[in-house]
């Protein structure tokens, strides 16, 4: 494994561990560059050789790996009956003592019922299949478990499913999250119920939901057959209720990768409610042929490259930074306060992001007026001095004096004093100003979940998007979903009840209920028309 200066660097080539997509045997693997692509390759003694694209741009990989983060281990791991560091990634997740990130965002699946039946989805119970719906008491235990994490208690929770809004007691569940101290409560939803169930969005907001994480695969009927017609209603209701929306497109080559620029443009046209777009390059489930994978696979650098192309370079590849870049800020605040802080110590290959600001009609990415790398270097230097015992007051003063060296005021949006905002956040821990500019800013993120074909154990060891399970374990996303036979399906089956039993305890509710749309009626509405026509084109020359 390649580690330099205590940071994970992932230099090319390097060795790691992966799995056989067929038998899930853990195998030694190699990550290497070839013709400016990065591949992961391993050989199973039974099923042969597997070589898969890891990142589609080796040059970009080498640029981004510089931002690989330190570890942010938890102090109270909860697996290991053997007691001799018996962690065998990825089969001892729980979290174990070898895991390198605390929980950044926790998921709790509160139902496996769904009112849609998307052909590619494996998260919902088909008719007659057992229903998984943990009780309030059990959910509360899972929440408490997350809050107990040390040294950094989990503060962001996503309620997911199935379709979480199908639970009649969702409001109570949200209130439990708030009562347990979660500062950020998010719903992972198709948005259909939020759009059409009268008063639901308002009730959710009142209960404590801050964000709706809404699937949105494209701006046309063809690229987004799942909820194209309903999104305008969901946005309207969320806006009315004051719930921020993050649009979540799953990117598939040849299906919706030509719509990326339009998706961002759509989001910019709805800044009164949309806070961000989080692209998720496709991860494959089940057996997929190599030909099909090659035809559909897209990775983070390619998606970013397409953003540059489709926005006429208004947003460029160099505007993006990988998620663990944020560690320099965390380190500084930790050094200043003497307390462990929320960190995003994920593997650099898992995600990237940028921030856009809208000044009139002009889109300005953050890196156009902030020298990000220069500022990070400066901040790291200050952190090192603080760690050596330098006065906090002097460091604060030095930061105040120097912060504007890294900001080009002539290029920053007219409504923004970014230097002050940054100083307030770093030194005073005052994030109010950040909240106030949300209607003029947009987060653009990338998050690439793995599948058995591109699985890298080093990535899963650093994962910070976790699932709390009813059996007390906390499981990284790519263990939970890539090894469902060990985690998700196995445990949910144990805690499920039969279809018949479920119906008996909830008279009058049909578990097989499916949403049916009236396309003609939806398309005729002003809400629909307004959402998709007459948009400001931010990227057309």
């Amino acid at each position: 494994m390649s580690r330099e200066f205590g940071k994970y660097t992932g230099s090319l080539p390097h060795e790691t561990l992966s799995i056989c997509p067929e038998c899930k045997r853990v195998l030694k693997a190699r990550v290497f560059a070839e013709k400016n692509n990065v591949f992961i390759e391993r050989k199973c003694p039974k099923h042969g050789n597997f070589k898969e694209v890891y990142w589609e741009n080796a040059e970009y990989y080498n640029k981004m790996r510089k931002f690989g983060s330190e570890e942010a281990k938890i102090q109270n791991p909860n697996t290991g009956f053997v007691g001799e560091n018996g962690e065998s990634c990825p089969f001892d997740c729980g979290l174990c003592s070898n895991h390198k990130s605390h929980t950044g965002l926790a998921n709790i699946a509160i139902t496996n019922r769904c009112d849609l039946s998307c052909w590619y989805c494996f998260f919902y119970a088909k008719e007659g299949e057992p229903i998984y719906e943990p009780s309030l008491e059990l959910i509360d235990k899972m929440l408490a478990n997350l809050r107990d994490q040390k040294p950094v208690s989990t503060n962001a929770i996503q309620l997911t499913g199935g379709e979480p809004t199908l639970r009649n007691d969702l409001e109570e569940i949200v209130k439990l999250c708030v009562k347990r101290g979660f500062e950020h409560v998010q719903l992972n939803t198709t948005g259909i119920s939020l759009g059409f169930k009268k008063g639901l969005a308002e009730r959710m907001k009142k209960a404590g939901v801050g964000t709706a994480y809404v699937s949105f695969d494209g701006t046309t009927k063809k690229t987004n057959p799942k909820n194209h017609w309903e999104i305008p209603y969901a946005l309207k209701e969320c806006e009315k209720a004051g719930i921020g929306v993050v649009l979540v497109p799953t990117l598939i080559k040849g299906i919706n990768d030509s719509d990326i620029g339009n998706i961002i443009n759509f989001a910019l046209n709805n800044l009164q409610v949309v806070r961000g777009v989080n692209f998720q390059p496709v991860s494959f489930v089940g057996r997929i042929s190599k030909k099909e994978r090659n035809a559909r696979r897209i990775t983070i650098p390619k998606a970013i490259e397409l953003i540059e192309e489709q926005t006429n370079a208004e947003i460029k590849m160099e505007d993006f930074y990988v998620v663990p870049t944020i560690h320099s800020f965390t380190r500084f605040v930790e050094a200043l306060t003497g307390h462990k802080q929320y960190d995003l110590s994920v593997h650099f290959a898992c995600g990237a992001a940028t921030y856009l600001f809208l000044d009139g009609k002009k889109v300005i990415p953050i890196s156009r007026f902030v020298d990000i790398e220069g500022f990070l270097e400066f901040l790291d230097g200050q952190s090192a001095e603080l760690e050596k015992g330098k006065s906090k007051i002097l460091t604060g003063a030095k930061l105040l004096l120097n912060i504007n060296r890294f900001i080009d005021r002539s290029k920053q949006p007219s409504f923004l004093n970014f230097g002050k905002l940054l100083f307030d956040a770093l030194v005073k821990h005052d994030y109010n100003a950040l909240g106030k500019i949300h209607e003029k800013s947009l987060f653009i993120g990338m998050m690439h979940f793995m599948d058995p074909y591109n699985y890298d154990v080093e990535r899963v060891q650093r994962c910070d998007i976790h699932y709390a399970m009813p059996d007390g374990r906390i499981i990284p996303f790519c263990s939970f979903n890539v090894l469902p036979e060990v985690y998700r399906d196995k445990v949910q089956k144990q805690y499920s009840i039969s279809w018949k039993e479920w119906k008996k305890t909830r008279p009058g509710i049909d578990p097989s209920f499916k949403y049916k749309r009236n396309i003609k009626e939806l398309e005729a509405s002003e809400i629909y028309k307004k959402a998709y026509t007459g948009l400001t084109e931010h990227f057309k020359k």
Partner: protein
Amino acid sequence: MQETKLPFRTVRKISIKLSGKIGELENRKLQYDLLTTDKVLRAHIGKQGNAIIIAAEGLKAGELLRFIPKKLKPKVECEEKIPYTELLSKTYTIKR
């Protein structure tokens, strides 16, 4: 909504000593094979060859041995019935 109903009242904790040689990756293959066995809830295999397996009621140690290669010379050291709540209390984050 439904009352909390735990899926098990008691489970079996089975300690097995493996004395044959097993490589690190083979060890994980065995762990995977055990975990994907219907009634096994947890399988931890230590570097010293001691394995602790938690299984649902109904799976006895003898049956479990069928899944472990003979070359590892598995020997059951201890088999006890424990309340499922004990397993949960060990798994839910405990201030240890």
